[in-house]
Amino acid sequence: MSEATPDGAILSASRVSKSFGEIPVLFSIDFDVRPGEVHAIIGENGAGKSTLIKILSGFEQPTSGSIIYDGDRAVLPPNGEAEARGIVLIHQELNLAEHLSVTDSIFLGRELHRYGLLDLKTMRERARAILDRLDVRVDPDARISSLSVADKQMVEIAKAINRDARVLIMDEPTAVLSVAETKTLFEQIRRLTEQGVAIVFISHKLDEIMALANRVTVLRDGQLIATMNTSALTPDSIAQMMVGRELSNLYPPKKEPDVDAPVVLSVRGLSAPGISNVSFDLRGGEILGFAGLIGSGRTAVAEAVVGLVVPEEGEISLNGQPVAFSDVRESLAAGLAYMTKDRKGRGLLLNMGLEPNLTLATLPKHRRGGFLTASSEHQALERAVRRFDIRARDPSVGVGQLSGGNQQKLLLAKCMESDPDIVIMDEPTRGIDVGTKQQIYHIIAALAAEGKSVIVISSEMQEVIGLSHRVLVMREGRMAGLLEGAEINEAEIMRYAAGVKQGEVS
């Protein structure tokens, strides 16, 4: 069996297959990346992207097939030896110790010593040099926990540079970044490729891939569909390859809401940590979009409304009645549900199965005489699985094992278990594939059509535009503008979000 390395590749996988127990997840994949190139991997959730990059970086061993690094067949052990040899994986959930400083993190495991002690001065100087080279304004002594997600990402990249990475593998680095932050990241990536670093890049955002990648590999259901030069592709053609079918109507048609529908949620002059003087109305059957840059205070508004944070000032009324929720239990009972954007940290218990997660917020519903009834919970799960098309091989396995899309659908199902009249969805499609996105969009539209009211907080402008009847734009904790009808377009939202335009507040 030949194991010829494709021309010029620094790292390649040859006929790599992987099974977990009985279940195959990758089928005979060929993949390679060359120095100075960005090679994107794209596919729906569960297509095998994560498994492939884990194999490329040594965290998983292939069931069959081989890895060729630098011209030699290599066995990459999962103990960090791959990293020592120049293959660095930046995980989707960044792997930084929150309590260490930036310098400590960059040198973690590669500390410099002098006379047997840590050479703090040199390490700090080198860290600063690397950060300067990346054009990142981060204090080398700052604690990781004090940094924004984007800065943490930069620290990860700085760490990779410090390890003289020859292959840098990034798992959805832009999922949590704003537009501006994404731009900076891409500049860094281009700089690295100029220095001959090979980049493997996973993303769900087709426009990013078109902008950044030299080549694209499309995976579907563990199969290699194609590896092509980006120049030969269009976003549409990539999307088609991913899902294997024509993707039309990503967003369902908007049904105009009844202008006479009653106001179900009214917020006046709401101030809380991170936000001040926010006012808006939400009508029955309406989808209200919340747009703005990351950190503009959209989540803080939602958390203040549902009682996760105690508002400092302002009034909230539900169906005309003033309310002041002091915890989620009260707002949930009043028919108001909030779906967090942090599905792994705040939304789901990753070590538990589907059922306990689904019913966690609504357990009292499944009680009879003080005791939980298993059959009632089973039925709830069956209903949710049908309604939201949740796919799990084994419902008792921890949901941390599910793909992002299925986790998100489960979270949505959990949120809808309380049968709320008003749903606030924070980043409902973050980090999930196009097919699942489309499903979620249709669910949101269907909810509105039933007369429920939905607030969609999203950093994906297309999403806000495609779904919302009205769009509230936030900037630095305040309302920057409220857009309706034809005003709802990318340019207008951006103007308000970036502070070019300041609108009247309704």
């Binding site: 989620v328 939304g347 538990m352 306990p356 966690l360 009292p364 008792s396 793909s403």
Partner: protein, 340 residues
């Protein structure tokens, strides 16, 4: 693949069995070992002694299972037991002096114990939740406080229950009902109630949720502080029940009472398969854990082949082996689960 098929149900059943089997296998092996070293190990009298003895640690460990499952820890239980035992004796002796001896004396002592247990649990819970101090520190603090208080009240010596009151109280430890000693009945009832609470009520589910992720619990409309506080109150109640059956045994309490019970209780919980960092609790396992711990000491007393000086080493080896068996089955369960 679709959900809730017969196949997945069968798979789930198998995994739970494996998890249970670890500690149970360890206990059975221990029993076989005990019997082979001295056949008297399985004699009726010895089994009865062993079960009665395991009741103290077992009852306390049932409470500890809730605390640990909800991500907490309670180091104060041993001192708390000594303190409650001492206060019971003081109150009962006082009652005997002022009112004479009757069943009421003992009931008064029991009432005093329940109030103190619940109160002490509440204090631990309140300080950890509202005071926002780590449970380890709070209970380390109360551990020292209760231990000092019992030493103070006993004047550094031993508090002894009035002998007439003892005669009335004695049967609670020494008598049997349907051939089963009363402390064992208490243990059985506490364990059953604990099992139902953990597995069949929203409260148990909330404990696991909070132990897995406090954030998720809060975002899921769970009153985290209240549930946490209740776990400590349950722990206090369990300590109180254990003390109620402990006092009639020797009729005395001193600063040496209940030393290291907290570690034994925590060990029983962990041997039983509950995860120390929280999120997953097993009452049945805890019961087995308590039996394993007691059986080790019993077997060592029944045999001569192991040097007395090595008792601690034998205990250590068996505890580690028991946990290894239980973790081994965890791994077998996990291997079946593919990522993504």
């Amino acid at each position: 693949m679709s959900l809730a098929s017969a196949g997945t149900d069968r798979l789930r059943g198998m995994r739970i069995d494996l998890k249970t089997a670890g500690p149970l296998v360890a206990l059975i092996l221990l029993c076989v070992l005990g019997y082979s070293l001295n056949p008297l190990f399985l004699a009726e009298g010895n089994v009865s002694n062993l079960l009665t003895r395991s009741a103290f640690i077992g009852i306390i460990a049932v409470g500890a299972t809730f605390v640990i499952t909800a991500g907490g820890i309670d180091l104060s239980v041993g001192s708390m037991a000594a303190f409650i035992a001492g206060m019971m004796i003081i109150v009962m002796n006082w009652a005997v002096e002022s009112m004479g001896v009757s069943v009421g004396t003992v009931l008064l002592g029991i009432g005093c114990s329940l109030i103190l247990g619940i109160g002490a649990g509440f204090i631990n819970g309140f300080l950890t939740t509202k005071g926002k101090i780590e449970a380890f520190i709070v209970t380390l603090g109360t551990m020292g406080i209760y231990r000092s208080l019992i030493t103070y009240f006993a004047n550094g010596g031993t508090l002894s229950l009035d002998s007439d009151a003892r005669q009335i109280y004695r049967p609670i430890y020494y008598d049997s009902l349907l051939g089963i000693p009363i402390p064992v009945w208490v243990f059985i009832v506490v364990a059953l109630i604990g099992w139902v609470l953990m597995n069949r009520t929203a409260f148990g589910r909330y404990c696991m949720a909070i132990g897995s992720s406090e954030h998720v619990a809060r975002y899921s409309a769970i009153k985290v502080d209240r549930v946490r506080t209740i776990t400590y109150i349950l722990q206090g109640l369990c300590v109180s029940l254990a003390t109620i059956i402990y006092v009639p045994r020797l009729g005395s309490a001193s600063s040496a009472t209940g030393v290291l019970w907290e570690l034994e209780a925590i060990a029983a919980v962990i041997i039983g398969g509950t995860v120390l960092k929280g999120g997953y609790g097993r009452i049945g396992g805890t019961v087995i854990g308590a039996l394993i711990l007691t059986a080790i000491g019993n077997i060592l007393n029944l045999t001569e082949i192991i040097s007395n000086y090595l008792n601690g080493a034998v205990q250590g080896v068996i505890i580690i082996a028991a946990v290894y068996l239980q973790r081994g089955s965890f791994r077998a369960g996990r291997k079946k689960t593919p990522a993504q």
